[in-house]
């Protein structure tokens, strides 16, 4: 087993912030299990299995092995020297989750859940996906473990992410378009829940973000916390101290939760989540529930939601399909209310500018999701001192977004 990175237990303890959720999945008033009765039993079974395996050294060793040899961890913490100089302020480091197998942080979680599914003797896995990154990461582990795999994807997302759809099919997954509602990620999640409720006996639902009913927000966070544990160790080794600020994009919020969690008790490390402002918060066409939504219940948990006065979920907008979701993980809702993290928003245009800036100055093409975090870092860095450290979670690579970037520039490929 590789002792250099992830030998820490999946859950850290010893502090009020890091001990959440409680046994029923609550982060303060958020989280919980808001599902129909049929799923309550299966969720309890999942929780019990996870609690048992997370402390099993054999499971841990298996996970560590796969993260090292299959995912390619640890991912580098890269000092973006030229971009830092150009912005003229803080030293910017990029946590290179884009270099993981399949090109994003999503695989950290799907490897973990697939190992759990195998231990629970489930032969079939299902997933929902927006941008397709989680779908690809699920199809990938399903191919490796020889599991049957079905991925639900909103019909509009299928159109704008055609490359990832084909990738999933190449990996042997069945991709099922969802035509109900807004035909995006939230509707794919509804459909995956319907599949799960109809096939609970043989099916494991691999949720891709830190949302959904308990234990998913906790479990996905634990599997993604490898990002923050590595960042912590790497920053100490490379810069001699912890970062001053960490910035990550937030759709459902799994990459952000993964990098934030191991720093929650470091009061001097500022944590900033970046939501998608779409056309601008003031236009109403955005995906920023923490900035402009209100608490409510959707997809099994209580959290901030984009909703109207009648409690109906409203359509969201972002140039980035992976951020185009009306809810957010309940732990983020709690971190917002408790003041431990703050949440800002970046427009489509700002994100696209950051995409170009990083590509041109560092030769790294970021995902449009991650470009939201980069865009906020570009605003923040000049206001920081040159001896300060700013870490940006570069959660995924941008190849999948090339058609979108070209289309926005009026270029046909």
């Amino acid at each position: 087993m590789n002792a250099t990175h992830n030998s820490a237990p999946l859950a850290d303890g010893g502090n009020a912030l890091t001990e959440l959720p409680d046994s029923r999945g609550h982060f303060g008033p958020y989280g919980g299990k808001f599902v129909s009765e049929t799923l309550m039993g299966p969720l309890a079974a999942l929780d019990a299995a996870y609690q048992r395996h997370r402390i099993d050294p054999e499971f841990q060793a298996e996970l560590d092995h796969d993260l090292t040899h299959y995912v390619g961890r640890p991912s580098p913490l890269y000092f973006a020297e030229r971009w830092s100089r150009e912005l003229g302020g803080a030293q910017i480091y990029l946590k290179r989750e884009d270099l993981n197998h399949t090109g994003a942080h999503k695989i950290n979680n799907t490897v973990g859940q697939a190992l759990l599914a195998r231990r629970m003797n489930k032969a079939r896995v299902i997933a929902e996906t927006g941008a397709g990154q989680h779908g690809v990461a699920t199809a990938t582990v399903a191919a490796r473990f020889g599991m049957q795999c079905r991925v639900y994807m909103g019909a509009s997302d299928i159109q704008r992410q055609s490359i990832n759809v084909f990738r999933m099919k190449l990996l042997g997954a069945e991709v099922t378009p969802v035509y109900s509602g807004s035909k995006t990620l939230k509707d794919a999640l509804n459909e995956a829940l319907r599949d799960w409720v109809s096939n609970v006996d043989d099916t494991f639902y691999i949720i891709g973000t830190v949302a959904g009913p308990h234990p998913y927000p906790m479990m996905v966070r634990d599997f993604q916390a490898i990002i923050g544990r590595e960042t912590r160790r790497q920053c100490l080794a490379q810069a001699g101290r912890l970062p001053d600020t960490i910035v990550a994009c937030v759709g459902g919020g799994s990459n952000a939760m993964g990098i934030f969690y191991p720093f929650l008790t470091d009061a001097n490390v500022e944590l900033i989540g970046v939501e998608a402002a779409g056309d601008g918060i003031e236009t109403g066409r955005h995906s920023a529930p923490l900035n402009a939504g209100a608490p409510g219940v959707l997809h099994g948990n209580r959290t901030y939601l984009m909703q109207d006065d009648d409690g109906q979920i409203i359509e969201t907008h972002s140039v980035s399909a992976g951020l185009d979701y009306p809810g957010v993980g309940p732990e983020h809702a709690w971190l917002k209310d408790s003041g431990r993290a703050r949440y800002v928003a970046i427009t489509d245009t700002e994100a696209l500018d950051a995409f170009r800036a990083l590509t041109l100055t560092e030769g790294i093409m970021p995902a449009l999701e991650s470009s939201h975090a980069l865009a906020y870092a570009a605003k923040l860095a000049p206001r920081m001192r040159p001896n300060q450290i700013l870490v940006v979670n570069l959660s995924g690579r941008g190849d999948k977004d090339i058609p979108t970037v070209a289309a926005r520039a009026g270029i046909s490929l």
């Binding site: 129909s36 009765e37 309550m40 109809s198 009648d310």
Partner: protein, 273 residues
């Protein structure tokens, strides 16, 4: 609070040795006028309890038929407040048939538990079933329902073990809604022996009436279930009738009444047989 209409209705059914017919349609699908006419038609056809679906943008426990009904209702501008207005209109001519609102938690949470409970009771709603609110999360909501005199109807499922059955029955009032299949509304068909076994477990935990729904598509399936339970719940089959009649009030009402009458006579025949 006087005896609830639901309790009264089940007492009457028991007295006459009859099985209950609970019918579900989505409020505002496709218009409030058609729903109102439909509610009265169902009562004429022999429905004992009217379940009124509160449309929600993300009906994760429903199959395609009720999903489409929700979308039609929301496209027509239906809201929870308008559902309550619809109940007011129904009560203008029917003060006896129990009305149960069935839906998802968020619209109720958005209005506020206290405000919703007060208004629902005032317009003549008798019970509420919130699909995505299991008893573990229900304490504050439940307290408000109870204070307003609303019955809180809970689901039990094939995956509910004895501990959960006890916990759910402890909180439930009005009746217990047994979901006959692992699935969404309007989907698979139940296995009678499995339903019978589970209802046995439920009966051991509560004296409340037990209704069975999900997968009841016809008079024949209703008749097969009737000997096992106190009431049969039919939804998707009725919603499909509304969809097929494409907005005609008279045709929809007539078809609903006819279908309900068929269910009614199947239930009655089955029992006396």
């Amino acid at each position: 609070m006087t005896t609830s209409r639901i309790k009264q209705r089940f007492a009457d059914l028991r007295q006459h040795d009859r099985k209950g017919l609970v019918t579900f349609i989505t409020a505002g699908d496709p218009t409030p006028e058609i729903t109102l006419a439909g509610m009265h038609a169902l009562v004429r056809g022999g429905a004992d309890i009217i379940e009124l679906g509160v449309p929600f943008s993300d009906p994760m426990a429903d199959g395609p038929i009720i999903q489409r009904a929700s979308e039609r209702a929301l496209d027509g501008g239906m809201t929870l407040r308008k559902v309550l207005a619809l109940v007011t209109a129904f009560r203008a001519t029917d003060q006896t048939t129990p009305v149960v609102l069935m839906g998802y938690l968020n619209p109720i949470e958005r209005m506020g538990y206290t405000e919703f409970s007060r208004q629902a009771a005032a317009v003549g709603v008798d019970g509420v079933l919130t699909v995505d609110l299991p008893p573990e999360e229900a304490a504050s909501c439940h307290a408000e329902f109870e204070r307003a005199g609303l019955d809180h109807i809970y689901l039990l499922a094939p995956t509910s073990d004895a501990t959960r059955i006890r916990a759910v029955c402890e909180r439930a009032s009005g009746f217990v809604y047994y979901v006959s299949v692992k699935g969404v509304t309007g989907g698979k068909t139940f296995a009678t022996d499995e339903v019978a076994a589970k209802i046995g477990e439920i009966r051991a935990a509560t004296s409340l009436p037990v209704g069975v729904g999900f997968g009841v598509k016809s008079a024949a399936t209703a008749a097969a279930l009737a000997p096992l339970c106190d009431a049969v719940i039919v939804g998707s089959a009725l919603v499909e009738i509304i969809e097929q009649n494409q907005g005609s009030i008279a045709a929809t009402a007539q078809a609903l009444e006819g279908f309900a009458a068929g269910l009614r006579s199947a239930l009655d025949a089955c029992h006396t047989a």
